[in-house]
Symmetry: C2
Subunit: 197 residues, 2 copies
DNA sequence: CCTATAAATGACCGTACGGTCATTATAAAA
DNA sequence: TTTTATAATGACCGTACGGTCATTTATAGG
């Protein structure tokens, strides 16, 4: 007899609203009432699904990174160095949406935001990306396309950091499209030459 | 006849206190009264030297980056690729203090923080680092140590972004010393191989 | 149509912090 | 020592926002 609601869908709806508000106003400026308005709910309702603003934000960050990872990871191990480079190129060539998310993370990853949980989540994300890179490299070493004297684990993790550096700088410092494209090109060449045996 | 004070020294004293508070508590958690206490002043006094917390923070960020730049830039153009690589290595191998500052910037660069001025300052910093790299590369191209078919401007700016990526990941994601050292090694090798003609 | 239970609401509260300003302290010069 | 302009102080104010909860609304089943 009671009213029944899809709680997971509701949580997603709220997280989407939060994302929108954080993107346009920033984390601190976005009020819970704003998020509620965007979600088409009353403020109090948010607290039925998330205990606090921090918890909502933590959930949001996890959700976003899980999304990115699901989008990236399935692209199964490619068999050639060229294929691997193409994969890196895709990672570098981010969408506008990712750029918005990047800006948001800057606030959320700051030390004033309570949860080390969020930092740990993001750290884990890059850890997995690094591990995937390492695996790729190991395979390409076996096929002989990549130098056998590199430390694949360290190199894989480094590549993850390098990509993040590029993506972050593009998002934060308004690097124009043509310019960034030139940067991508030289970066890819540098990495490729560095790996090739 | 009036009481006279060295205003610049006072501003520095306050910025140092702010830095300390931001580092330990984060930008948002640090209250003006905390900063005052650390500086050994009353809260109201801060407002004689900075119009607002935001302005204090903006000044602080500029001050820090100017310091870093002065520390880095004078290391005049080195004449060999090995010298250049050594310079990059130094940039990668950051001190604990820099790591603290890195964490702080994550908050301050977030979109909720009013001033695009700060972002512009940091953008300018990396722009200058990129330009310096480009200059170095141009020289090394002329001496024949570096491939002549690279886009030195784009490569220089990319290297700045790559370094920042590494440094940031170290600061944010608790990469251990040995591990980071291995990452530095492969990164340096990759860059070096990528540049060498 | 009624009822019981889940869901939604938004007025309200507490508090905490940035910023102000009337008052007090300080020190250089006369 | 007095004067006077500058510097420092900290109690106080306003307000804005996260979070609560008594009340109202919605709906599935009988």
């Amino acid at each position: 007899m009671p009213k029944i609601v899809d709680k997971d869908a509701m949580r997603v709806r709220i997280m989407e609203a939060a994302m929108q508000c954080y993107a346009s106003q920033g984390f601190h400026a976005a009020k819970m009432s704003d998020i509620a308005k965007v979600a088409g709910l009353a403020k109090g309702t948010l607290y039925l699904y998330f205990k606090s603003k921090d918890q909502l934000t933590t959930a949001l960050v996890k959700w976003i990174f899980q999304g990115i990872e699901q989008q990236i990871m399935p692209q199964r191990a490619v068999g050639t160095l060229d294929g691997y480079m193409a994969q890196i190129k895709m990672a570098l060539d981010v969408t506008e949406e990712t750029r918005i998310e990047t800006r948001m993370f800057f606030e959320v990853l700051g030390p004033s935001f309570g949860s080390d949980e969020v930092v740990a989540e993001v750290a884990g994300f890059f850890e997995r990306i690094g591990a995937q890179n390492a695996q790729q490299l190991d395979y390409l070493i076996q096929t002989g396309e990549v130098r056998s004297d590199i430390d694949s684990k360290a190199t894989g993790r480094s590549i993850a950091a390098l990509i993040d550096g590029m993506v972050t700088h593009r998002a934060m410092f308004g690097l124009g499209d043509e310019r960034y494209r030139a940067m991508m090109k030289t970066t890819l060449e540098m990495i490729c030459r560095g790996l090739k045996s």
